[in-house]
Structure formats: C-alpha cells, structure tokens
Amino acid sequence: MPRSPGTRLKPAKYIPVATAAALLVGSSTLFFVFTCPWLTRAVSPAIPVYNGIIFLFVLANFSMATFMDPGVFPRADEDEDKEDDFRAPLYKNVDVRGIQVRMKWCATCHFYRPPRCSHCSVCDNCVEDFDHHCPWVNNCIGRRNYRYFFLFLLSLSAHMVGVVAFGLVYVLNHSEGLGATHTTITMAVMCVAGLFFIPVIGLTGFHVVLVTRGRTTNEQVTGKFRGGVNPFTRGCYGNVEHVLCSPLAPRYVVEPPRLPLAARLKPPFFRPELLERAAPLKVKLSDNGLKSSLGHSKSKGSLDRLDEKPLDLGPPLPPKAEASTFISDRQTPRPTSAESTLSVQRTSPPTPAMYKFRPAFPTAPKTPFCGPGEQVPDSLTLGEDSIHSLDFASEPSLDLPDYAPGGLHTAYPPSPPLSAADTFSGALRSLSLKATGRRGGDHMALQPLRSEGAPPTPHRSLFAPHALPNRNGSLSYDSLLNPSSPGGHACPAHPSASMAGYHSPYLHPGVLGDPPRPPPRSFSPVLGPRPREPSPVRYDNLSRTIMASIQERKDREERERLLRSQADSLFGDSGVYDAPSSYSLQQASVLSEGPRGPVLRYGSRDDLVAGPGFGGARNPALQTSMSSLSSAVSRAPRTSSSSLQADLANNNAPGPRPSSGSHRSPARQVPPSPPGTPRSPSYMGPKAVAFIHTDLPEPPPSLAMQRDHPQLKTPPSKLNGQSPGLARLGPAAGPPGPIASPARHTLVKKVSGVGGTTYEISV
C-alpha cells in the first residue's frame, strides 16, 4: 500500500515477524492436529500435553518479547539537557566497579546514555541494557524483555526439538504410507522445523553463552569486552539468576503522572543559613534599628559583616563599634555608623558628636541625637544634620530610610540621662578609659548603663565622646565628602583598629571615624528599635540640651586649648588630636552648615579652632580644611574629604602627602588617640582633653607617646590595606592626618595623654 511520507507505516518491517508468527503457529497447529492424535494413542497422552505446554510457553514468550517495552528511556526534558546539548562533550566517563565505562551523548534523546544503553535506530529509542533489535519479534530486546526473549528462544528450541522428534517417530511408524496426508503434513512440519532448527538452536546457544557471561549481544558483537573485563558480570550463576529471576523492571514511558505532586510550595522558604545567621543578623539589625529585615541581601550581608566585625572585635571601644560598622558599612555604611552614633549618642546625649552620627541616618534625626551634653553641640549637631543629609545619601543606598530614626530613638532614650551625667562624663571617661583597656567592655557597660542613668553614663559618656568624636571625625569627613564615607570611616576603623588597643592598627581611618562599634551594636539590639517613637520628640529636646552642652563644650575646649598651648609637646598630640576632633566637629558643623549654614556652628567652630595654641597652625589648617570641607560638602564628598585630609596633612604634617597619605596620617593619628573612638574624638577630644588635661596632664602624654609610636607604625600598613575604607574615611582621616606628622606625633601623644588616652581608650 502506498506510504505517505508522514506515516511511519513500514510493512516491510512486519514481514519477518509475520512470517515467524505464521510459521510458528501454523506448524504447531498442524503438528497437533495431524501428528499428536496418533502419538497420543500410540505412545502416550503426555506427548501432546507436553508439547502443548511448550507451545504455549513459546507463544507467551513470543508475545511478551514482541509487545513488551524493552526499557525505553523517555526523552529528556529540556530542563535537563539545556546545559549539555551544545557544550557537552560527546562522551562522559563513569566508573563502574573500577572500570571506566564511556557514556555517549545521545543527540536524539538528549542525555548521556547510561552504561549498557544504546539507541535503536529502528525503534528510534534509547533502550536500557540494549541487547539487539530482533526482526522476528519486531522489537528491541532490552532489559525488560530480555528474559522473555531468552525464554522464547529456549522454549522455541525445545518446541522445535519436540516437533521434529515426535514427527520423526510418527513418520517412522508410518513409513509404509508416506504419501498419507497425516504423514505428509508431519513431514512438512518436520522440514520447517528442521529448517529453522539450526538458526534457532544456534541463537539459543549463543544467548546461553551471553547470559552466563553477563553480556549483551550488542557488547558481544561490538567486542567491548573482548580483551578486558566485563564490569557488569555477576558471576555465572549470578548472571543466570539475574536474567531469569530478577523482578520485572518498570516501564519508564508513562504517559499519565503516577501521582500528582501534592506538595505545596509556600514561600517564604526555610533556609539553613538563615537559621544559622539568625542570631547575628538580628543583632545587627537591632543595633542599627535601621534595617527592617533580612530582606536586604545587601544589608543582610553587610549586617553579617557588621555583626562579625563588631563581634569579633569583642567588647571594643565604642569607636570600634563604629569602625566595625563602617567596615561592614561598605555595603551599608550608614547603618553601622548610624548605629554607633546612636549608641554613642545614647550614652552621651548631649554630645554633639551624637548629632554627627545622627546624620548618618537619612531620616531626620537632624536634631542632635543625643549628645546635647556634648561639647560640640553646635557643630556636632549641625554637623549631624549635615551629616544626616550626607549620610542620608549613603543610607538611602542602604535602604534604611525609615529605621534610622528608629535607631536613633533607641539611642536617645538613654541620652537624657547621659546629659545629666555629662559633666562627669569627661572625667569619668578619662577614668574609665584609663581604667579599662577594653573599650568594648565599656561599651558594654555603657549599654546597660544607658538605660540606667547617671553612673553608667560616665562610661557611656566616655564612650560616647570617644565614639562620637571619632565618629564625628569620620562622619564629618565622610558626611562632608562622601555620603558613604561615614560608613567608610567606620569600616576601616574597625578592621584596622582592632579594638584591642588603640595602638594597633586602628590608627587607620577606621579608628578615626569608626570607633569599633561592636559594643554599641551589640547593645543596640537590646535597645532595639523600640524606642523609635519617642526619639523624635527627644531630638527636639536634645536640641535644646545639646545647645547647652555645646556651649559647655565650647568652654571646655577653650580651656583645653589654653592648656594645650601651654604644653605643646604634651598637648601637641592632643592638640593635633583635638584638631582633628575639632576639625571633625568643624567639619560636621561645616557639613551641617553647608546645607544650612547655621551661624551658630561656625561660631562654635571658630571657637574650637581658635582655642588651642598649637591649633594656630591647625586652625588655619582646620579652617582650610573646614572650608575645604564645606566645599567638599558641596562637591563630591570623597574628593573633598581627601582634599580635606590633604589639607590637614599638609597643614599638620610636613610635606604634603597624597590623599592616601593624608588618609594615612589622619588614620594614624586617630588610631593612636583613641582607637576606639574614631568618631568621638572629634568632639570628645575637646571635652576629654579638657578634662584629662586638667586632671592628668602628665601620664596621659606618656601613654600617648607610647601609643603613638606603635600606632604610627601600624597605621600606614593598615591604611594601605584599608585603602578603600580609608578613602571613605578620608575625611575622618583628615584630622588625624595632621597629627601624623611629627607634630602629630606630639599631638598624638598628647591626645592619648591628656585627652588622647581618654580618647583612645574610649574609642
């Protein structure tokens, strides 16, 4: 019949099977009809029974071999092969019992053929354990139907043997009348049987050998294991057992799905890492109070980092916290800085530095966060505001828009008490700073203290000032120059400034602006975002108080400056330190002022600048820096910060240094001063200095000296490493920069000694 191209009808392929079936059935039927009756009568009735069973067996196996799925692999889904289709190699090796077996890529079925699988061109399917394609059954012989094929062969052979044997008996017994019908038919049947006897027996014997060897026809014919070992053999008995007794394998090509997938997918989904990170993340989040959730991958990651950093730093000084926050701040500079600021602020509400940190939050805590009592109120507050604005820039990137205030709030609650203790804070700070080298501990103390009130406040204030100044420094620079810089400051500070001691690497910018904040952060979770609501109100209150504190600070700073001028060597460092702090303050003020230009700030700034004796040199530098800051504010923060730093460096240190260098110097300076208080020093400085100066003029300097040296040495390396952060911290580094120079050395010492020690410790 005509075959259309579309149809797959190929009559030719049915000829062998039709012939085989016809021959089998016909011959057997004739045998049974013509030969068996006589045999039944003459020999035994068991003969037809036996033959009948054999024949039935043959038919059954023949049918199974013909109609059973040999183990066809369904085509692979597109999802599975999308990677392999074009780029996959043709062969893939797999190890089977120590022997490398090659799996070939099937272009039709789109998967790598499992071992012993082959693609049948007649059936156009990959068949599992492919043996051969038998035309007599018009089917592939594979895993599922090999047993039936083998049994078919066996039974067919037995049947043929029986037919021929019994026919012979009949013929021999009817030899006199060979022309008789029955005899003729029997002889015809015997001829047919005899004709196919040799091929069938031969094939049967062949397959018996294959079965005992555990090979397939395909493997035997292609000579795969000719010289080697067959990895699929199970031993003679095992192979026979496998062929004859193994359970019937399932069909793979199943059209309807076996069972509907009743599993429901309900996002959100569990993640193992979430469970692991839950704690740290929480900590961070709560610290910041900015991040709303873990949703922000960036924030999350950064948070993780933040957490890690601050945590690693341990009970670092508040500055550290900031630093760490800044470190992580790379991604989310704001939150950490904000946090730290907040925490810092909390401790010392009056501290203007707090304001500075505040700006970090995009939200408006423009009003002084907490540091109303802090000295650098005006500038700080202003700075904060400006910083806020600046920070906002950075923060928005962090996606912390709303939480900032919240975080601030948390900070705020404690602030009022702090303000109360502000007066002591300086003294306490110095004491605490000196007493404990562990800033973190202080922070820790602060945290709980904050809520408590006065007694803790001193610690807190200590921290706060340190932190704040550092922060301010960093913030101011950052905020001025780079919105993200505050974070940057913090970050570098943290990493560089191992909270452990300010000597260490903290000199880096991180130290400057990023007092390690781990403690604050850790605390903040406690304080948490809850207090957000009240904070706005607090801010207002703080502003008033802050102004007052700022005024106080101014006075103190004036005093400090005077003292400094008296003891240049000692106070040089502190002066330098102060300068940065004041600078930072100024910066902050500038920053804040930039956008707003409050007169007050400038006034304060001027006071701050003019105060210290050595500051004379500084002042110009500061002023320039400030101006640069202001300019920086208007311009891109980063560049300005660097310029600022450069200015500072130039002013303070001999030999202009590249921005990096300037960064370094500031960092160096800062680290020595209060490693932990990169920020606070800025505003803390004046206060602390004032206090310390009066109280401990001598010891601190020595301490500062000692610190300076190690610090000075370390920072450069650290700075280099911290370059990215440093860049950000640029502004923060600025103040330290000048200190770094020889004058800085002195300044550094001084700071450490008088206020520096305090700073550092607190930082």
């Binding site: 369904p74 019992r97 193994s246 399932p250 799905p257 009743a262 599993a263 996002p267 989904f269």
Partner: protein, 167 residues
Amino acid sequence: MATEVHNLQELRRSASLATKVFIQRDYSDGTICQFQTKFPPELDSRIERQLFEDTVKTLNSFYSEAEKIGGNSYLEGCLACATAYFIFLCMETHYEKVLKKISRYIQDQNEKIFAPRGLLLTDPVERGMRVIEISIYEDRCSSGSSSSGSSTGSGSSSGGGVGAGAR
C-alpha cells in the same frame, strides 16, 4: 473570583521555578539503581546536607529492595511463567509495589521537608530512573506562581492553588 484569586496570589508571595538540580545515577556498583549522594552545590543554601543525604540514601535503599533477587522475585517469576504471564494482567509486580512506596515516600518528603524549603523532588521513574530531579523554587512576590508549578507537574501548581485557597 479569578481576579480575587489572582490578587490573592499576588499578595501571597508566589514561588517560581528558579532552577533544577539533577542527581545523577551512581554506576559505581554496576547497573543497579543507585543515585549519587554527593551534595549538589546548588542546594547548599537551601537544605541541610544531612536531610538531603538521608533522602537519597533512603531512595537508594528502596530501589535496591525493589531489584533484590530473592525468593519473592523467583516465585513471582515462576508464577508468571506458569500462568503464561496472564498474572501480570491481574497483579502488580514486586517492583511496581516498591515504586509506589517510593512515590509515596517522595511525596511525603516533598511535603515535609522539601516544599517548605522551596524544593521539589521529582520521582526518578518519570525520568527513566536516570536522575532525581530537584526543582528549586524562589519565592518571589509575583503572580506567576502557577507557571513554575506546571513545569514540574500539575500537582505543584494545584498544590499552590490549594495552598492559596487554604490560606
């Protein structure tokens, strides 16, 4: 209604198919059905290693039980031979019984362990016992939840719908 459901779906964060991981067969012991217990890196953040390995090992044990040559399979073969394989029309084989058990196990695992993690196991039988397909879903706040479900099976989408309805 449809609109409401759609809105619900949108509100509800729907899962969408992100990628599929394929656990390949382990041929180190011949052609017996075994799957690799190597933990795929794509699942690193989605499910604990131990859970995954337990699942695969359990599946491997199921398959080895299904393919075990023992008295049960021998008797089945003899019976089948004796009845000229007509027995296959009436009774399911030992292998098929184990496959059903595997299917139930996979479904159970999906419901309890994988689906909450945004994963879905596909029965290897549907893939010719060559791979275990694990579909990884990402929760996305989008309304295209059904599309992912359909790719892996009608059940998932229906399950999602049911889940939506349940919610």
